[in-house]
């Protein structure tokens, strides 16, 4: 289960751009997750070894951040924010609705393998409360009543492409995030890109 050559190249690029191997760990794990959507322990170890680090802290990091998955996940990972602002705007109802629709198993995965339901803490998108993260996109405000519809859109888009236009009531809030705030984008906007030039 060796890393793909593209992943290796990407990790090397990340490593070269950062002064400390430890700093490269998080973006490298994210890059490695790109291969299959989650990080088997084998992969975590490989990434750590590539960077000359102990696998234990890599494992720690991979389990600490909710954007990294150490168990298989579906095509869409839905992370519903449960922190106070989202809660006050009804996140528990949203979660209930998602549960009812997806019937997730104990790992949070739906039977069709399309969805994984996770509960997370504030993602900094409180103006769109209640919100959830769908893979690398933020989606909100959500409405428990329109969750079936939202999921239907996602199912239709399962072929790929970005998720957009999922608002419960477009008139009720600002437009959904345009350019998706993705982790990998955030990394590329760091000094990393300069190294490429």
């Amino acid at each position: 289960m060796a890393l793909a050559p593209e992943t290796i190249a990407e990790i090397e690029r990340i490593r070269a751009a950062l002064p400390e191997a430890r700093s490269a760990l998080l973006p490298s794990l994210k890059a490695a997750q790109g291969e299959r959507g989650w990080l088997p322990q084998e992969t975590i170890k490989e990434v750590a070894e590539m960077l000359g680090l102990d696998p234990n802290p890599a494992y720690m990091l991979a389990t600490f951040y909710t954007m990294l998955h150490t168990e298989p996940v579906g095509h869409y990972v839905l992370e519903v924010c449960r922190s106070l602002p989202c809660y006050l705007r009804g996140s528990d109802g949203v979660t209930e609705a998602l549960r009812a629709e997806l019937q997730p198993d104990e790992h949070g995965n739906s039977a069709d393998g399309l969805f994984s339901l996770k509960i997370g803490e504030c993602l900094g998108d409180c103006p769109h409360a209640p919100m959830m993260r769908v893979n690398d996109d933020f989606v909100g405000p959500l409405d428990a009543a329109t969750i079936p519809e939202t999921l239907a859109i996602l199912r239709r888009r399962a072929e790929g492409g970005r998720v957009r236009g999922l608002m419960a009531d477009p008139a009720a809030g600002p437009a959904p995030n345009e350019g998706p705030l993705t982790f990998s984008n955030a990394i590329q906007s760091l000094p990393l890109t300069r190294v490429r030039d």
Binding site: Q41, K45, N56, P57, Y59, M60, F64, E121
Partner: protein
């Protein structure tokens, strides 16, 4: 105000505060929890551990501080002048009870089947500060348990209270990542990566640090309740550090070893090798009676038969082939008392010089004329510079390695010079890969560089040393360029590190005594001698010495249990009658040691390959069964105490040597106890004579080096490379 003025002024750099209505003065920067402890006030803690950096993770230590709106954690709050603290008023008591309630919400309370029960801080703290009744009725969280983290340690996640002591210990003390935390918040768990063991050589310390039964010893699990064990304070015999430990036994079986903190030696830590190596004591296969060879077979015999036979044959051999034809080799792990008696048996009773210890420590006489470490283990913490030449303490003196890491943390610049990767490389200011063969050259080169550039302390060298000019003349050839070509490192690097060594501040030089390959050790020691003077390692505040490896190598050196010159029963001509105590040359691949031996006496715990060849076998006793003293690598003499009875008819080793002595000499072997042997030994060895026997059992005592002992910091040191024909390290 007037009253205030009459109070004696607090000494500078101290802070005066009030805790529970009591006024306390402590040094600035003291943590509240420590200030309270110094006044005998107990603040309950879980995550706080004085040897680790405070984190404030468990909230157990909440106290009320006047003028502060919320309760504060006493383990992270430093004292301030005029602070008024209450640890036992209603608010703090309520918080303590609430925190315990939360910690217990998911705690299984399986104390009756928990190894920690009876010595568990969670039990004790709950009893003292906790709620009598839980507020929770929800089901508790469960996990599969126990999870073996390694062959030595099992993890019970249900019991863990996430104080992080274990993970913090690994990160801060041995400096590894052998244990980690996964997930976050209330889901956090202690873990290791799948397929990997909790593989630190110091892992056992986490068992004792864990304030609950979450980390337990697999070899000890369910073997006994703590209150059923008897604890005997003793000293580890597995290496030259001499960490203090408790031998804990029940029904005459050693069941576990735990730390018995002696901070100047061990800081309260043990390595896993020391902590977990005790099964052999309880082994049913130990030799439990004397054996003698009859018709080619080793068969049981009485003590008298075996002792008579051995004594008779030793005497016959000496009469027939000369006294030196009877030789003896004793383990460097024997006690001082055994070493002394062994020496007396050969030199006194038999008149033989063929007596040695094994493994033999090559002599490394320091500039002060004594073969022992100058300074102390504890002094390493205060060094500005520490140079390690060819030593890797993690492998040979594990707990010393922790002290060196601590020194680095305190700001010491470590210069690590070794042939292979060294555990201390990551904390070193300079880590150089240099083969053994090039170490003498490197030491001489640095000495030359320092003296040429005038980087040494001229006052010390001028006032306290002699022979620099002659040494200079010899050292002058050792240019940085030459060293660079010999060693294969750049001249700039060699020079830069050499200059760094000369930086002022207390400095330490620790070196390997025996280098592999064809090395002229006289030249090696001459170069070390001179370098140590030039960097100030022999000053009162410095540390200098060749690290010994066995728990009593230093004792064997001090008592002179080695033949004159280099002759050795293992090196030169083998004696024809040989007595081996705790030495197994066949097992160590030194079969040639037995060539020409026609009468062999072996004293051993087990029937080793060598014992199988013997004519007489005496059962030996383990360190957990005997009394005596060991001298550690810093000249500290410490007492060991017997915990369990040896198997069968086995007798303490000192008695066996004594009984041979009684048969071979008309008098001089009437000792009735190891203490009696100590008294004679102390009279014979002046440095030991100055020690107080009582102190040896309470943390031990370092015997005094002559140059330190003269009161005014006085002896003179001599440069040595000038004395060598052809110069040092050439």
């Amino acid at each position: 105000m007037v009253q205030e003025a009459t109070k004696p002024a607090a000494p500078p750099n101290t802070v005066t505060l009030t805790i529970d209505e009591r006024e306390i003065t402590v040094p600035k920067g003291t943590l509240l929890v420590e200030a309270a402890k110094s006044a005998g006030i107990d603040i309950p803690v879980f995550c706080y551990e004085p040897r680790l950096a405070p984190v404030g993770a468990c909230r157990m230590c909440l106290v009320e501080i006047e003028k502060m709106p919320r309760l504060q954690t006493a383990c992270t709050t430093p004292v301030a002048d005029g602070m008024i603290v209450r640890t036992n008023a209603e608010k703090s008591r309520a918080a303590q009870s609430d925190v315990l309630g939360m910690l217990l919400a998911n705690h299984p309370l399986d104390c009756p089947v928990c190894d920690k029960g009876g010595e568990c801080p969670l039990q004790d703290t709950t009893f003292n500060y906790g709620p009598g009744i839980s507020k929770f009725i929800e089901p508790k969280r469960t996990f599969p348990k126990p999870i073996p983290l390694s062959p030595l340690i099992a993890l019970d996640r249900e019991r863990c209270i996430m104080c992080y002591r274990c993970v913090r210990f690994q990160r801060e003390i041995p400096g590894d990542e052998a244990l980690t935390v996964i997930d976050r918040g209330s889901h956090s768990e202690i873990a290791v990566t799948e397929g990997r063991d909790f593989d630190s050589p110091f892992s056992g310390n986490t068992i004792e640090l864990c304030p609950v039964g979450a980390l337990t010893s697999i070899p000890f699990r369910f073997r006994a309740r703590p209150w059923d064990l008897t604890k005997v304070p003793s000293v580890c015999d597995k290496c030259s550090v001499g960490c203090n430990l408790n031998v804990e036994y029940r029904n005459n079986a050693v069941l576990r070893l735990t730390a018995h903190p002696n901070p100047p030696v061990d800081d309260g830590w043990l390595c896993d090798h020391g902590r977990f190596t005790y099964d052999y004591v309880n082994d049913k296969n130990r030799i439990d009676r004397p054996l003698i060879r009859r018709n080619g077979q080793l068969v049981p015999a009485t003590w008298d038969e075996a002792l008579d036979l051995a004594a008779q044959r030793f005497r016959d051999t000496a009469d027939r082939a000369g006294n030196d034809a009877v030789g003896g080799v004793i383990s460097a792990r024997a006690t001082n008392e055994e070493l002394y008696l062994f020496g007396k048996l050969f030199r006194g009773a038999l008149g033989s010089q063929a007596v040695d210890h094994y493994p033999r420590t090559g002599s490394a006489i320091g500039p002060f004329g004594v073969d022992a470490l100058h300074g102390s283990i504890e002094a390493l913490e205060r060094m500005g510079t520490i140079v390690l030449l060819g030593v890797d303490p993690l492998k040979e003196q594990p707990v010393l390695n922790l002290r060196l890491r601590k020194a680095a943390k305190n700001g010491a610049r470590l210069v690590v010079v070794s042939p292979e990767a060294n555990d201390l490389d990551p904390v070193a200011a300079h880590a150089l890969r240099v083969p053994h063969a090039a170490l003498p050259t490197l030491a001489a080169t640095w000495a030359n560089l320092i003296v040429t550039e005038g980087l040494h302390d001229a006052e010390f060298i001028g006032g306290r040393t002699a022979g620099l000019d002659r040494a200079r003349a010899t050292l002058v050839d050792f240019t940085v360029e030459r060293a660079a070509s010999v060693i294969g490192l750049s001249a700039e690097l060699i020079a830069a590190v050499g200059r760094a060594l000369a930086a002022q501040g207390p400095s330490a030089l620790l070196f390997r005594r025996e280098l592999s390959g064809t090395i002229d050790h006289a030249q090696w020691f001459a170069a070390l001698n001179d370098l140590s003077l030039l960097i100030g390692a022999t000053k009162e505040d410095g540390v200098f010495g060749g690290l010994v490896t066995q728990n009593n190598s230093q004792g064997a050196i001090d008592l002179g249990i080695a033949p004159e010159g280099d002759a050795s029963p293992f090196g030169g001509k083998a004696p024809s009658a040989l007595y081996l105590l705790g030495v197994d040359p066949l097992g160590d691949g030194r079969a040639e040691a037995l060539d020409g031996v026609d009468f062999l006496v072996v004293q051993e715990l087990f029937l080793t390959d060598t014992a199988r060849r013997a004519d007489v076998v005496f059962p030996a006793v383990s360190w957990a069964e005997k009394e005596g003293t060991y001298t550690n690598l810093e000249r500290r003499v410490q007492r060991i105490r017997p915990a369990v009875r040896p198997p069968g008819e086995a007798r303490p080793d000192w008695r066996v040597i004594r009984d041979l002595g009684k048969r071979l000499a008309p008098n001089g072997f009437a000792f009735t106890s190891p203490t009696a042997v100590w008294q004679e030994l102390a009279a014979a060895v002046p440095a030991y004579g100055q020690l107080s026997y009582g102190a040896l059992g309470r943390g031990g005592q370092q015997w005094a080096l002559p140059h330190i002992g003269d009161g005014n910091g006085g002896g003179r040191f001599t440069f040595r490379s000038g004395d060598l024909e052809g110069g040092a390290g050439r």
